[in-house]
Symmetry: C2
Subunit: 312 residues, 2 copies
């Protein structure tokens, strides 16, 4: 079976671990969000790709959900001692090495797709990990505070401000020009099923869907999504702040409508959100909490079962 899954960071990575456990023989291609990528200290950082790579490769900090296990922060402390900004982004020493390798390869002319493949040669995540695009497409957030109305990088809003300043809007700079990375459309076209894991519907899945051609390619496929909203609250993270920014209520129903019926064929919601419905979409209520590996694998299996049901 050939599966394509879109993915953001922590939630997507955890779901993928369940998917791998549920279907060890499947050929899984992951299309990772790169809208959160940022250049810090001259080094290219791809938070979502790395979270997937580290999680599936066994290098993740399990408690934190991002970054490396057994991490130290000497380089960051030294950069602060030099007065270097920003100091609000938590780069550890092990993680720095990844960004040094990536930056050196990018500067040597390799594409992000090639770099990601090279990094995965070490981590062996068990999936084919593709960035959504090799082009720059960067999520910016429009905020308004005592400094006035301005657009800031997503990470500045998310990490530095912890989404505490209301976002007026969220926009993907470069969306019109960015092309899908090599292999992305091909993987979708040859997929038996496509999964939208419970990643952030705006700045993760929503970002990937904005890259030209991806939504259209997905519309021809059996696509099953897992609601990132349970009982009107995000399962984790601050997805509600992102949804509010684009005028979408924080409900499983609203996220389904955001993705839309031509795109989604199946939608898994929590028991308490069982009244969600949309024409053309098979909705099933299932336990959505990825509380442990078994529950996560069961959730992945439920998504595949629904896809199978739709395909028949």
């Amino acid at each position: 079976m050939r599966i394509v899954s879109l993915a953001g960071g922590i939630g997507g990575a955890r779901f993928l671990r369940g998917l791998l456990a549920a279907t060890p023989d499947a050929e899984i291609t992951v299309i990772g969000n790169t809208g959160d990528d940022i250049t810090l200290f001259g080094l290219r950082v791809c938070p979502d790709l790395d979270t997937i790579m580290y999680t599936l490769g066994g290098g993740i900090d399990e408690n934190q959900g991002w970054g490396r296990a057994d991490e130290t922060h000497i380089v960051k402390e030294e950069l602060a001692a030099y007065g270097m900004e920003p100091q609000w982004f938590g780069l550890g020493d092990r993680d720095f090495a990844t960004h040094i390798v990536r930056t050196q390869m990018l500067n040597a002319g390799y594409s992000l797709t090639q770099v990601t493949e090279a990094l995965c040669a070490r981590w062996q995540p068990g999936v084919r990990l593709l960035p959504m695009s090799d082009d720059r497409a960067e999520t910016h957030v429009v905020v308004e505070d005592e400094h006035g109305r301005r657009a800031i990088h997503f990470q500045e809003w998310w990490v530095r401000l912890r989404a505490s300043v209301p976002a007026r809007d969220i926009a993907l700079v470069g969306a019109a020009e960015a092309k899908p990375a090599p292999g992305v459309l091909e993987a979708i076209h040859s997929a038996d099923v496509v999964i939208l894991p419970p990643s952030n519907p705006v700045v993760s899945i929503g970002t990937i869907l904005q890259i030209q051609g991806i939504r259209q390619a997905l519309e021809t496929k059996v696509v099953v999504g897992v609601s990132p909203i349970i009982g009107n609250a995000p399962v984790r993270g601050m997805a509600d702040a992102c949804l509010t920014a684009i005028g979408v209520p924080t409900t499983a129903q609203a996220v389904l409508e955001l993705y839309g019926a031509p795109l989604v064929d199946g939608w898994l919601v929590a028991e308490e959100d069982g009244d969600v419905s949309l024409d053309g979409v098979e909705v099933r209520a299932r336990p959505l909490l990825m509380s442990d590996p078994e529950a996560t694998a069961a959730l992945a299996r439920a998504a595949l079962d629904l896809a199978g049901e739709i395909s028949r």
Copy 2:
């Protein structure tokens, strides 16, 4: 008093610490060798400038003589886990931060002189530290082994091969085009005395002297040198291998002749090399071993005393 000192790495840095102790009120400008500089993992490394900066700023690994005190090597281990080369250059985590800052500033368009000044704002070395040049002038070594005759970067010969493969020649690539860094010639012109510390006469002092205009500027000044050779052996390091490569005997006499009489006015040698002489040069035998801070300060004082004697 205005003093200019050329300098390589460890030996030069230790001498400078003695010079600062000997003349706390002097205005000291150090012209540092950048011929050993190398780009590793996409990061610009300036070993000699950093050794001076760390030594005078209190951050040096005192036992090793280079690198940071209290150093860890997580980033290097991670880079090796990614299969990144070279693995023979010992970059520590604290040190990495320096190279990240430098590289980011260079890529942003600052000159090495400006970057060095910015780094020194943290370290407060007590001297004005200038690179010999902002241009690329890189020491290459011609070696001949089972792989044939070829030129390699100085660091590959010095660090990876530990100078165990005989050098056929040593050449400064870019020497003809490299200009002195801003402030270098001005500092020399306004200096009361110039010191050549016991740094490597070929790849440290010799390299600086090859930058256009520096030797000529020095010839108009009272220049006192400290022999890096005691009793036909280098005080430390592998200066003998470098001297042999350019056909110069490893003696205090030969190094004095290499620098030459129009350049050097005073020359300090060890007691056992007391018979060294060259027309136009005042030679004095003094204890040259920088065995502790007091001995080093006494050596610096001896150099300044000889300069004072020559000036009178």
